[in-house]
C-alpha cells in the first residue's frame, strides 16, 4: 500500500526517438572519452615539457656557474702568481731596503708584472699588494690612494687577514681605495706569507669588474621574466636584478629555501601562474647561483598546447558527433520505415509490404510484420466474405417469404370469388397464387432466367389486378432478347408492390403499372413505372433507408406498413451480388407517378 503510487522509472535517455537516443548516448560517450584523453594528454605533455625545461635551466645555470667559476679561478691564479713572485715577496718582506732608488726598481718591476696581467685580462679592474710594512704597489705606475678610505678596515682586507693564507671572495662592492675611482667590483684577497710560509707579510688584492658577472647573469635567457641571482654562504645577496627592491622590501626572494637547497637541486614555489622553478648550483668559493624561471613561460607554449589540443578535440568531436548522427540514422532508419508502414496499417491499408534490408534483427522484425499483416488481411477478407454471404442469404430469405397479409387478402379474395361462383376467376387466381408460391419456395439457385422472373411478376400482377379489380392495370414490355439472361430471383416484386401500395391503391382512378425490360450495352435495365400519386422527397428518402439490421422480422410488419421488404434491401442485394456499379434509381413526381430503374449486368 505504501508504494502503491510508485511512478514508473524514468528512461536513461528521455528522448523520443531511438535515433536521438543513440546519438545522445554516442555523443556522451565520445565527449567523455575525448575530454578525458585530452586532459590526460595535456597533463602528460605539460609534465614532460616542465621536466625538460627544468633540465634545461639546470644546464644553463651550470654554464653560468662554470663561467663565473672560471673568472674566480683566474683571479686565484693571478693571486698564486703574485704569491710566488720573488719580487713581490721581497718587496713586502720585513728586510729594509738600502735606498729608495732600489725600492723604486722593485715597485716598477712588480707594477709592470701586474700591468702585463691586466692587459691580457679585460675583466680585472685592478691588482694591488699591501704590505704590512706599509709598502704598497699596484698595477699603475702612479697610484694615489683615497686619503679618506681606510684600507685596513675594508672588509676584504680584514677577512683575508682572518683567513690566514686562504683566498677570500668578497661580495660585490664599490672599491674606493683609489682616489676618484668608485667601481663596482668583486674582490679576491689573500694574505701573503714570507718564504718560510709562517709570518704574514701583506695582503694581495685582485678586483674583478662586477660588470663581467652582471653581463653573464643578464645575458641568460630564462624566458621574459626569468632571471639569475647569486647568494653567498651567509645567504646575503651577491647579485640580484632587483637588489634595490629587496632592500626596500618591495620584493622578496626565497633565500631560506635556496640556502637549504643542495647544489644541483631544483625546487618550485607558487602555484598556477605564479609558479617559479628555482635551480640552484653551488660553487667552490661559497656562492650559490640560482636560476629562476617562471612556470608559465617555461611551458612557453602552454596556451598553445592547450589550444591546439582543444582544437584537435573539437574537430575530433565534430567528426565523431557527425558520425554518431549518421550511424544512429543508419541504425534507426529501418525501424523508422517499419514504423511508417505500421502507421499505414493502423489506418487500414493492409496491402503494405515493408521493405526488408539486411536480414538482421530489424529485418526479421520486418519479415514477421509482413507475415502478420498478410494474415490479418486474409482474415479480414474472409470475414468480409462470410459477412456478405450471410447477408446475401438473409436477404434472399427475406424476399422469398410471402407477405402473410398478402396471402390472407388473396385467400379472402378467392373465397369471395368462390362465393360469387366466379369459377373461372377462382381458378385463375388460385393457379397464379400456386405459381407464385412455387417460385418463392423453389430451392433453385439465387439466379434465375429473366423469363422465370417475368413469369413470377406476371402471376403476382394477375393476383393483384384481380384483387383491386378495375383499379389496376398493368403492361409488360420486355424485350425478348433479354429473356435468356439471368437475374436475381424475386427482383421486381418489391417495386411492383411499392407502386401498388404507395402509388395506385389510394388513387381514385384506374392506375397503370408498366414494367419494361431491355438491354443497354452490357447491362440489363428494368423499369417499374406507375402513374400513381408519386412520392414526396421525404417519403422517397424513407423508402431508401435500409430497413432494420437483420431485416428478418420486418416482413411480418411490412404488410400493414406497406413497406414490403424495403427498397434499400433490394438495392443492397443487387450490389452484394453484382457489385457497386449496379443498383436502383428512383424518380418520382407527385401526381405524376414513380419510376424505379433497376440495372443489373448481363449474365448468361
Amino acid at each position: 500500500m505504501l508504494f502503491g503510487n510508485r511512478r514508473p522509472l524514468l528512461p536513461l535517455f528521455p528522448l523520443k526517438s531511438i535515433q536521438s537516443s543513440i546519438s545522445f548516448a554516442f555523443s556522451c560517450l565520445i565527449l567523455v572519452t575525448i575530454v578525458v584523453t585530452s586532459l590526460i594528454s595535456y597533463r602528460l605533455s605539460v609534465d614532460a615539457v616542465e621536466q625538460n625545461a627544468t633540465g634545461y635551466i639546470e644546464e644553463i645555470i651550470k654554464q653560468v656557474n662554470s663561467n663565473i667559476q672560471s673568472y674566480v679561478d683566474n683571479m686565484e691564479n693571478i693571486s698564486l702568481l703574485a704569491m710566488t713572485n720573488k719580487d713581490v715577496k721581497y718587496y713586502i718582506s720585513d728586510n729594509d731596503f738600502i735606498s729608495t732608488e732600489e725600492r723604486r726598481v722593485y715597485e716598477k718591476r712588480i707594477s709592470d708584472l701586474f700591468q702585463a696581467i691586466l692587459y691580457t685580462r679585460q675583466d680585472i679592474a685592478s691588482i694591488m699588494v699591501f704590505g704590512y710594512n706599509d709598502r704598497f704597489v699596484s698595477d699603475r705606475r702612479i697610484t694615489s690612494l683615497n686619503p679618506n678610505a681606510d684600507v685596513r678596515n675594508a672588509p676584504w682586507y680584514k677577512s683575508a687577514k682572518a683567513a690566514g693564507g686562504q683566498s677570500v671572495i668578497s661580495a660585490p662592492h664599490v672599491q674606493n681605495i683609489i682616489q676618484n675611482e668608485y667601481r663596482w667590483v668583486v674582490s679576491l684577497s689573500r694574505e701573503l706569507r714570507s718564504t718560510d710560509g709562517i709570518s704574514p707579510e701583506g695582503i694581495f688584492l685582485v678586483d674583478l669588474n662586477l660588470s663581467v658577472i652582471n653581463d653573464i647573469c643578464r645575458q641568460i635567457n630564462l624566458g621574459n621574466k626569468g632571471y639569475v641571482f647569486i647568494v653567498d654562504q651567509e645567504g646575503n645577496i651577491v647579485y640580484h636584478p632587483q637588489q634595490q627592491l629587496i632592500y626596500s622590501g618591495l620584493a622578496s626572494e626565497k633565500i631560506d629555501e635556496v640556502n637549504a637547497a643542495a647544489s644541483g637541486a631544483s625546487f618550485t614555489t607558487g602555484e598556477g601562474d605564479g609558479k617559479r622553478i628555482y635551480s640552484v648550483q653551488g660553487t667552490n668559493f661559497g656562492w650559490k647561483i640560482v636560476g629562476v624561471a617562471y612556470g608559465d613561460e617555461l611551458i612557453a607554449n602552454k596556451d598553445t598546447l592547450s589550444r591546439s589540443l582543444f582544437l584537435y578535440a573539437f574537430f575530433g568531436l565534430a567528426i565523431a558527433l557527425l558520425l554518431s548522427v549518421l550511424l544512429s540514422h543508419q541504425l534507426s532508419r529501418p525501424i523508422k520505415n517499419l514504423q511508417k508502414d505500421m502507421k499505414l496499417v493502423e489506418k487500414g491499408n493492409f496491402d503494405i509490404k515493408t521493405e526488408i534490408g539486411q536480414m538482421n534483427e530489424i529485418g526479421q522484425l520486418g519479415r514477421t510484420f509482413n507475415m502478420m499483416v498478410g494474415q490479418i488481411k486474409n482474415l479480414m477478407e474472409e470475414a468480409i466474405l462470410t459477412q456478405e454471404q450471410k447477408r446475401k442469404s438473409e436477404l434472399a430469405l427475406l424476399q422469398s417469404q410471402i407477405n402473410p397479409h398478402f396471402l390472407y387478402n388473396t385467400l379472402d379474395s378467392i373465397i369471395w370469388m368462390a362465393e360469387q361462383k366466379k369459377h373461372e376467376e377462382v381458378v385463375l387466381m388460385t393457379s397464379a397464387l400456386a405459381k407464385l408460391f412455387r417460385s418463392s419456395i423453389s430451392k433453385e439457385k439465387e439466379l434465375v432466367p429473366i423469363r422465370v422472373e417475368i413469369e413470377h411478376i406476371k402471376n403476382y400482377l394477375i393476383i393483384q389486378k384481380m384483387r383491386y379489380n378495375n383499379q389496376l392495370d398493368y403492361r409488360l414490355d420486355i424485350a425478348p432478347s433479354i429473356m435468356m439472361y439471368r437475374s436475381l430471383k424475386i427482383l421486381l416484386q418489391p417495386f411492383v408492390e411499392n407502386a401498388i401500395y404507395h402509388g395506385i391503391r389510394n388513387k381514385p382512378e384506374m392506375g397503370l403499372i408498366t414494367i419494361r425490360g431491355y438491354e443497354e450495352e452490357d447491362r440489363i435495365v428494368f423499369e417499374v413505372e406507375d402513374d400513381g400519386l408519386g412520392m414526396t422527397e421525404e417519403k422517397l428518402e424513407m423508402l431508401l433507408e435500409p430497413v432494420g439490421g437483420s431485416g428478418l422480422s420486418d416482413p411480418l410488419q411490412s404488410g400493414s406498413g406497406g413497406k414490403g421488404i424495403g427498397i434499400s434491401n433490394v438495392n443492397e442485394r443487387i450490389k452484394l451480388f453484382f457489385g457497386e456499379p449496379y443498383g436502383i434509381q428512383i424518380r418520382s413526381e407527385l401526381e405524376v407517378g414513380t419510376c424505379v430503374t433497376i440495372i443489373i449486368p448481363k449474365l448468361d
Partner: protein, 335 residues
Amino acid sequence: MRKSRLTVVFTVMVLVVFIYAFFYARFTGVADWALSSGEADKNVIVILKTSNVRSDFWQAVKGGIEAAAKEMVVNAEIQGPLAETDANAQIGLLEAAILRKPHAIVVAPINDYRMKDVLGRVREAGIQLVLIDNPIEIESPPVAISNDHLRAGRLAGETAISMNGGHPKAAIISDNVDVLASVQRKKGIEEALFGYTDGIYGTYYSLDSEERAYLIAKSLLSSGETPFNTFITLTESATLGTAKAIEEEGQAGKVKLIGFESSIEEIQLLEAGVLNATLVQRPFNMGYLALKSALKLESGRSVEPDTHIESTVVTRLNMYSPENQKLLFPFNENE
C-alpha cells in the same frame, strides 16, 4: 541499399572537408590563434625629465622601470629630453606619445605652464597617466609616485638633532622659494625642529648656484663665533658650495653639514667627513613602482593615488653598507 552507399559517400566527403579545413586552417588565421602564446603585449611610454646617461638619478629611475617591465612582461619605451629643463622637448615627446596611443604614459613632468594642458590631453585620449617625481596639480589628480620630500626634511631635522646632542641650531640653505621639493623639505625640517630653541637659525636662498651657496656659507662662517651648529643644504649645489666654505674655514666636523641627494662629489665629501649626512632618494623604486602602478591602472585595479618614496639618511659610517652602496653608486648596466 543505394541509400546507405550514399551515406558512406557523404560521410567520407564530410571527413575530407573537415581534415582539409583543419590543415588549411593550420596555415592561416586559426593557426595563429591556436599557436600564438599569451596576450598581446602592452605598451607603456615613459617620458623622464632627461634621458641623459650622465644623470645617475634618472638612469636609476630607468633601471627601475626596466626591472618592472621585465617582471610584468610589457614593452616600456623610455624617452626624455637631453636637458632636465627642456620643457619644449618634453611636451613634444608627450604629444608624439599621445598620437601613438599606448596603454599608459608615465611622465616626470618638467615645470611649465603648458604641461597641465598636455597632460589633460593624455587623459582625453583615454590613456592611463602616472606622474612621477613632480606631482604637478591638474584636475582630478592622476596617480603620482614621488619622493616624500616632507619626510626627507623631517629626517634631516632629526639627524641634526641627534648629531648635536639634542641641541640643533640649523642654518638652511635652499635654492628657491617656489620649488616644491625644496619647500617641502624645508617644511619637514621645520616640523622636526619645532620646539627647539633657535632650532632654525635662518633660511637662505642660493638660487641653485654653488657659488652663491659658497658665499652665503662663507659669510655666515667668517663672522667669528657661529651662532648655529648645522648647515642643512636642500640641494646638491648648495651642499657643494657650503662644503667648500666649511673646508676653507677649517670648520669640517665642527659645523655639521647635512645635505640632500648624492653625487660623486658629495660621496667624497662624506668620506672626507665634511658632509656628515646626506638624504638619498630611491629613484630605482620610483621607476619600478611607477610602471607597476601604470599597469595596475591599465588593467582596472585600484591604485594608491599618491605613493611616496622615502629617503635614506647616509652617513660616513653606513655609506658602504650593501644597501647604501647600491643607492650611492648606481651600477650602470651599460658600462
